[in-house]
């Protein structure tokens, strides 16, 4: 089982590049429609947001199911979210604006929807910067605090998506529901934990939580080995 999971990493690393290859093929074969630059922005932004959601869905999935070991790949998915977000930003600066800085400046200042995109990107950038193990070690408790901002990044990204549209709200609506569910899961888990801590009554749920803690300890032990 463990062996199988270890084999997954190279497959995932390559698999996460498929959207990029697909996009490149669409560029080469001129499949991006009448406004290819707009299509490019949407495609790259979509994938950044999708990887952000995948990163966030792992913990709730592990809590709700018996599926274990995915937590090892959270970092990988998070870095891919950063990767696609970076391409999204580069496409904006280079492909759309051809690095004409005064026009870029005006565009950003006058476009509130871009402010949210910038916020999301700055967060994801900081998280990617502090993603190596040594950074995690050095930051101690602050690491977790910083990395909770991933939720803010997700919310900002969804607002960024919503606000640039005149109509056709179906897709951003889909993502905002996902992000809302992910967020509410975390809030619920947090509230529950607090209640349990207060009551300190070993109910069946508390037992479950204990079991989970145990399994997590085992996992860390395994990793250290």
């Amino acid at each position: 089982m463990i062996l199988q999971i270890d084999n997954l990493r190279p497959k995932l690393i390559i698999g996460c590049l498929i959207p990029l290859l697909w996009l490149l093929a669409d560029i080469v074969f001129d499949n991006l429609g009448a406004n290819p630059i707009q299509a490019l922005h949407i495609r790259l932004g979509d994938w950044a947001l999708r990887f952000l959601c995948i990163t966030l869905v792992i913990t709730p999935l592990q809590t709700m199911t018996k599926w274990r070991g995915m937590a090892d790949y959270r970092q990988l998915f998070g870095l891919y979210a950063f990767f696609y977000a970076t391409l999204h930003v580069l496409a904006y600066l280079l492909i759309d604006h051809a690095l004409v800085w005064h026009m870029i400046g005006t565009d950003i200042i006058e476009s509130p929807y871009i402010w949210f995109g910038v916020l999301a990107y700055v967060i994801v950038f900081l998280l990617a910067l502090t993603s190596p193990k040594w950074a995690k070690k050095r930051m101690g408790k602050n690491w977790k605090k910083l990395h909770r901002f991933i939720y803010l990044a997700a919310v900002a990204a969804v607002i960024h998506y919503f606000w640039q549209l005149k109509g056709n709200l179906a897709e951003p609506l889909f993502y905002s529901i996902i992000v809302f569910l992910l967020l509410s899961f975390r809030v619920l888990a947090w509230v529950k934990n607090r209640q349990l801590m207060k009551m300190m009554i070993p109910t069946s749920r508390r037992a479950l939580a204990l079991a989970e803690e145990k399994s997590m300890m085992l996992e860390t032990a395994r990793k250290r080995r």
Partner: protein, 318 residues
Amino acid sequence: MIIKTTKNIPASEITDPLIFKNRRKIIKAMAATIAAGAGIAPAWANSANPVWADLPKSDLSADLLTPTPAEIIKNYTNYYEFAFNKQDATKLAQNLNTDAWSVEISGEVENPGSYYLEDILSRQTLQEYIYRFRCVEAWSMVVPWVGFPLGDLLKTVKPLSTAHFVKFTAVHQPEIMPRQHSNAMLDWPYVEGLRMDEAMHPLTILAVGMYGDILPKQNGAPLRLVVPWKYGFKNIKAIVKIELLKKPPLTSWSQFAPKEYGFYSNVNPAVAHPRWSQSSERQLGSGFFTPRRQTELFNGYGEQVASLYRDMDLRHFF
């Protein structure tokens, strides 16, 4: 009133009309041969034999503009009655039946009535108008419209002195228009409006075609408004009713989001949409790594129309 063309072009730069015409014929013949071989329609036409192949060009056409390829114009258009995305809208718009179209003209006019489009056209002189088209979504193109001045039509019904505004209503066919059927977003049918002087301005036309042929359905067939100095959504499609009014009509987008879309909606790079900048635009057909075009006040038609808004605060009347 002297109507100037957009730019004063030195005589040396103007292509001799004869050469131009011949060149066009040669290109057309070439394209037709290629198209025949490949089994596709030539790029400028919707059918192999355009209806208005050799239409005179209006003096108002900016000669220096190169029209955006027809394939792009035909595949990148909003039509919210059908769908909120451009691909589906284009596909679904083909369901619109444009046969035996009539337009009701009423309100503050001497001769109200319902007129068949054919009859309207028989009394108008069609010309080609090559205009810039700037969407509020910050993209733009250049369209060679076929049409006639709206003012010429309004004159035939004799507006009363009490007519200060023009209200346009688009077709209401919920049975073939899914977003009308589900009452989605806007209050249907789509309504647009102009001030009387804007409506009578020679730049303002009613279009029945583009690229020398009948308008594609997704582009507003059989009759649409074209006001080149205003954002695209003012250019209402598939018009069935024109009313002359004393007071300004409540227009669709303005009703939906009054803080985002005003009655005038003149193209203005200095007045940003509340959520995005209007300072620049992506010209459709331009490639990767090409800078965006800097948007011009009144979409570059300021010389002709700025006087209409002389004492107005354009920030307030956006």
